[in-house]
């Protein structure tokens, strides 16, 4: 990075924090802190909803995934517009009109305190650890790229994010998300333009798209019915539909956003905004990955992109194996380059290029095998799976993006991480204070007291996320376990809300037992079948509604029986 890059990078931090604090100056009391006094515009909330969902790993991980596997990941998002419609029709009116601070507060009014507490605990445990992962995952990538100590990267992100979130509350979070999301859009445009600009002379956009197609990298839809495959149209539409209902409808980090709107109409519009923009945005992000795949037909890519993983193998007794793979990759890449240039030349002349297509296809296949073998070698040496996919895009921008733009793109990656982290810690803080502190510890304090406690809770969760991030490398299996528990409860929590909205006879005991049964069912499905995790949300929601309705019905029947 040049001085210009560092300057732009620092300017980003100063501008974002100043803007956030300026926007939050009119906040009043705890409602201002957690809900922005319900006066934020729908388009800002809409951008914040997008920013919350799109973490840094979405930006750098999905481009890497598309580099390896093409566009098929897009199927995961295809149900989102339909889920948004259901959320607008059913969920948003209930939350908004109940004037609640948290999604779980609604459950106490509808059912009872134990259902609210159980849902709140599940959220705090899962999302508390999740906030650490949000901080840790991009930090390890950025520290390698920037040459910073991993702890310093985590500290910088955590410090800045906690500072503006603690002072400005949700208003600061939403307005920084707006800036950060606009930067992400700008970053996508810069990355795409740079990729096209970096193609060799004589190779146009059409050629790049054509080369991507040779290995079916644009293949976006898989119509197979395999329930063990996460990336099929049906997994995306059914599993994704339930996942997005659960995420946007029951996760406080999202619900809190649309509760800040001036009116019910604005709350709904913020989600509709996402329904239109999210999938096209993901298509563009994945396209960057496919175009990277094409770009590296003309430039030799590293066999393994992560410098840390390469260093680990090189310092191990198996270093020679990696060198053999790298040498073969160099040879096959050179052959593919010749074939690619030949194909384009003959294609421009209108000649038949099927032979060259087949040649390039076989070279692609071999290079894929070599990369897979290298990643297997990394996994053997390090004793854990390679996460090289996260280094593909950062490596490209470091090597090929010109000064100035590089600083902006690195800031974009920081922005994506911070915009998710700020939302998580403010949501965790609101659930801690509203669902537990105010409900169970100090129900009769002043607004100023709750505001102080809210700021302390924000600080606490920021420090907690920082602590988890610092030790995330050592906590690998624990974090995995927590994420697994998260996938168990997401669909089940959705089931509780569906029970609340649609089953008139449902009661608190039914909801609580249903929630436990739903989580148990998901656990059983996960250990006894190979079904994709996307379907866990369907299983959880259906079981909760069925068990909850049945238990509630039985209890109601008993109450009606004459003594």
């Amino acid at each position: 990075m040049t001085g210009l890059d560092w300057g732009l990078f620092l300017l980003y931090f100063v501008l974002v924090v100043s803007f956030a604090l300026y926007q939050s100056r009119k906040n009043v009391g705890v409602e201002g802190y957690f809900l922005g006094n319900r006066r934020l515009p729908w388009w800002a909330i809409g951008l914040s909803v997008m920013a919350t969902q799109a973490s840094a790993i979405t930006f750098i991980g999905t481009t890497g995934q598309a580099f390896d596997d093409g566009m098929e990941f897009i199927q995961f998002y295809l149900a989102l517009p339909f889920a948004m419609v259901v959320l607008c029709i059913v969920f948003v009116p209930f939350f908004y009109r109940a004037r609640v601070f948290t999604a779980y507060e609604y459950l106490e009014g509808r059912f009872d305190a134990k259902t609210r507490a159980l849902a709140g605990v599940l959220f705090l445990v899962s999302r508390g650890m999740g906030a650490g992962v949000i901080l840790y995952a991009p930090a390890i990538v950025l520290s390698v790229i920037l040459g910073w100590d991993e702890r310093l990267t985590i500290l910088v992100m955590a410090l800045v994010t906690v500072a503006y979130t603690m002072v400005g509350g949700i208003t600061a979070v939403i307005w920084t998300d707006v800036v950060q999301m606009l930067m992400v859009f700008g970053g996508i445009a810069v990355a795409l333009l740079a990729l096209f600009a970096n193609l060799p002379d004589g190779v146009g956009v059409g050629d790049a798209v054509y080369i991507g197609g040779i290995q079916e990298m644009w293949r976006s839809i898989d119509l197979s019915w395999d329930p063990t495959n996460t990336y099929t149209l049906w997994s995306g539409l059914l599993g994704g539909f339930f996942l997005f209902l659960a995420y946007f409808g029951t996760d406080q980090s999202q619900v809190q956003r649309y509760l800040t709107a001036t009116s019910l109409k604005d709350s709904r519009l913020s989600l509709i905004f996402n329904a239109f923009l999210k999938v096209p945005m993901q298509i563009l992000i994945l396209s960057i990955g496919v175009l990277l795949f094409v770009f590296y037909h003309f430039e030799r890519p590293p066999l393994v992109f992560s410098p840390a993983e390469v260093a680990a193998v090189e310092s191990s007794p198996r270093a020679a194996e990696l060198r053999v793979l790298q040498d073969e990759q160099e040879r096959v890449h050179a052959q593919r380059l010749v074939a690619t240039l030949q194909l384009l030349e003959e294609r421009h002349e209108g000649a038949d290029v099927e032979g060259w297509r087949a040649t390039i296809g076989s070279h692609d296949e071999r290079l894929r095998e070599l990369r897979s073998q290298a990643k297997g070698l990394v996994a053997d040496v390090r004793g854990k799976a390679s996460n090289d996919v996260n280094y593909v895009f950062p490596t490209y921008i470091i090597q090929y993006i010109p000064a100035g733009l590089l600083g902006i793109l690195i800031a974009v990656i920081f922005a994506a991480a911070m915009s998710s982290l700020d939302s998580e810690i403010t949501a965790l803080s609101s659930a801690t204070v509203m669902d537990f502190y105010r409900r169970w510890v100090r129900p009769e304090a002043t607004d100023a007291h709750y505001l102080r406690v809210s700021r302390l809770a924000t600080l606490f969760w920021g420090v907690f996320a920082f602590g988890v991030a610092l030790y995330a490398g050592q906590l690998g299996s624990l974090i995995e376990a927590v994420n697994q528990i998260g996938s168990f409860f997401y669909g089940s929590l959705l089931g509780v809300f569906l029970l609340a909205f649609f089953v008139r006879t449902a009661n608190g005991t039914g909801a609580t037992l249903g929630l436990l049964a739903g989580m148990g069912s998901v656990f059983l499905v996960s250990v006894t079948t190979e079904v994709s995790w996307l379907y866990y949300n369907v299983v959880g929601a259906v079981v909760v509604v069925a068990v909850g309705a049945a238990v509630s019905g039985m209890l109601r029947g008993r109450e009606r029986e004459p003594a």
């Binding site: 109940a98 609640v100 991507g212 087949a358 409900r439 008139r504």
Partner: protein, 88 residues
């Protein structure tokens, strides 16, 4: 809590909210509640008839759904066009 439209402050923000089913408009299952769909219809009515250039919420939701279907269709077409199977 302040049920919308009633203008009654029941202690919002102080921890003094009155518990009970009446707090939640259209809360679905409580005896005497209006039920989920009635509450939603009422919410839509309160929000007015038009939404920007759209004649109604139904029209907007329909547009979103059509958008979702068109995206899927477009991706299927692109898959066929951009990833042509190699010739025999």
């Amino acid at each position: 809590m302040r049920p919308e439209g009633e203008g009654v402050d029941r202690g919002e923000g102080t921890g003094q909210e009155a518990p009970g089913p009446e707090r939640l408009p259209g809360g679905g299952g409580q005896p005497g509640s209006r039920g989920v769909w009635a509450a939603i219809r009422e919410a839509d009515r309160q929000e007015g008839e038009t939404v920007g250039p759209f004649r109604s919420w139904t029209c907007l939701y329909g547009t979103v759904a059509v958008h979702g279907i068109l995206v899927i269709g477009l991706l299927m077409v692109l898959t066929k066009v951009l990833d042509p199977a190699p010739g025999p």
